[in-house]
Symmetry: C2
Subunit: 360 residues, 2 copies
Amino acid sequence: MKDHRLQNGEVGALEEEEGDGQHENGHGSAVVLGVDGGTTSTVCVCMPLLPFSDRDLPDTLPVLARAVAGCSNHNSVGETASNNTIEQVMAEALCKSGSTWSAVRAVCLGVSGVNHPTDQERILQWLRDILPSHVKLFVHNDALAALASGTMGKLHGCVLIAGTGCISYGFSKDGREARAAGAGPVLGDWGSGYGIAAQALTAVVKAHDGRGPQTMLTDSILKALSLSSPDELIGWTYADPSWARIAALVPEVVSCAEAGDEIANKVLDDAVQELALSVRAVVQRLRLCGEDGNGSFPIVMVGGVLEANKSWDIGKEVINCIRKYYPGAYPIRPKVEPAVGAALLAWNFLEKESERHYNS
Amino acid sequence: MKDHRLQNGEVGALEEEEGDGQHENGHGSAVVLGVDGGTTSTVCVCMPLLPFSDRDLPDTLPVLARAVAGCSNHNSVGETASNNTIEQVMAEALCKSGSTWSAVRAVCLGVSGVNHPTDQERILQWLRDILPSHVKLFVHNDALAALASGTMGKLHGCVLIAGTGCISYGFSKDGREARAAGAGPVLGDWGSGYGIAAQALTAVVKAHDGRGPQTMLTDSILKALSLSSPDELIGWTYADPSWARIAALVPEVVSCAEAGDEIANKVLDDAVQELALSVRAVVQRLRLCGEDGNGSFPIVMVGGVLEANKSWDIGKEVINCIRKYYPGAYPIRPKVEPAVGAALLAWNFLEKESERHYNS
């Protein structure tokens, strides 16, 4: 499953020219890098540094280059592999843009698996060691980049990411932040793509050994994996610990649910409840809905699990569920990808630093 | 958590002599090896080959030597590590007993993670490569060894193992077999020690981020792990993928439940239901309860999760739950460990081979 769709026309246009080698960038023009580090893939975009005075963003954002690599969640692949992936994807984006590190003013990393100040500090320390000292560094959870991709850099509202993993993250106007879920599959992320697929696999095993009702999921999943018996699912599951490999079965669950399978419908219903609960926990703690509960706030919806399907639309069901409690919640499906959100944040942070410098 | 208690006095007596080096074994006397390969530890016992005619086993079984090593579930540690552990534990038991491979008539392996004929065949092939050709080899799931440890070698009834992992396995008098659960933590083994602990950890994370009620589990688990905040649980959980490390938190869950914590009680209640369901699935498929449902059959109870605690006795609750459906079910808590069960199976299989040979 892909976590985020490529939705920025400019990037596509540039990517078509990949064969030409490096792109011209009026060598020396200041740029920023935005990195979206997910559990499935890692994306880096290189964007020019827009003038700070220009608060109204252009309709189409100018992305100079884009590079893609694998997983950079250190909880999934370990710290060394995660660091290597991030270093490689930044170097590739920079190279494609025709820029060099001397032109980079700031890097903003939004990385899945950054859950604690010590995670943030460890990555910052590593970046300081490998990057030139003039580059400003900002490291956050990938949820922040995803939020910014929906709000075009404004840090207000809640973002719900549901791809291989899931997390709900919010920022209030007065700068407080809160999160719910995002603790990985062992710690109850049942609304994630991994969670949905693991519940479906469990239903197949239970139907097979007599603990649960028969389900269409059995034929559908065995066919998708080219296996002949549910007994083989155990070996398949533990042969490779990658979370994305399990999560890739979500389309089978959605198809079975759309075909009327009760078990598949229950798995998706449960996931909707889990996802809605994680958003409600964040909204409640930050009072994003205002004191009367009716205030307006955005919910940025990101990730493959929340994309519209034929008839079973998980994202729409989650929003319906949340609006029962908070009628002022309005969904945003971002027009740019989270890596662009990360680059917008880099601008944002640089601007604030510049304001602080000017005011001091 | 330990999966199986040492309950054979003879073994303890021999172990005290470990410092002496090898034991005398009237060199050349025929022996068998029984191996219980679990997700937490692997045990091998070396026992003398009792005369086939002697169907009444002595009160105290003569264990010549016993050796212990780590995990041998290939799904948890990989095939190479699993094979190395099994090879090492057999060599150590043989060495301690003062025997050599030339004296070994048969080896019976009961290994956790053997779920499919291809698993069995792969292990058999590997054993044939490393052991002398005269040694008879029997490879099964560890559940079979555990059943035999309760029934003293008779293959009839159901065994429920709940340690780090869990599985329900049954044999009917006419030689049919069935299993339920035992598919590992990703595939819904929620009654296992790992499952119980993962649910408890999830409850702590949910209480912390506002998705669930406060629970005593938070203080209890953080204290047990020397952590200062639930945020640190994520890093702790994914720092080491060993299932046994998670399962080791079960005593904290039981303590909180005994102290009246509602969440901890719900986690244990759910585990009881899952374990009872897995036994019922096996009993139903094999009709161990007879056609009228009232027939008598043993349920062998093995593993740390089923051991009696102060007031919360998971094993007793499981039996109560099963007896509502099958009043003829009677629990057996084995007096010997599963590795001895594996050795008894080796005798049993050798005897059957000898009978077949005699009859042909």
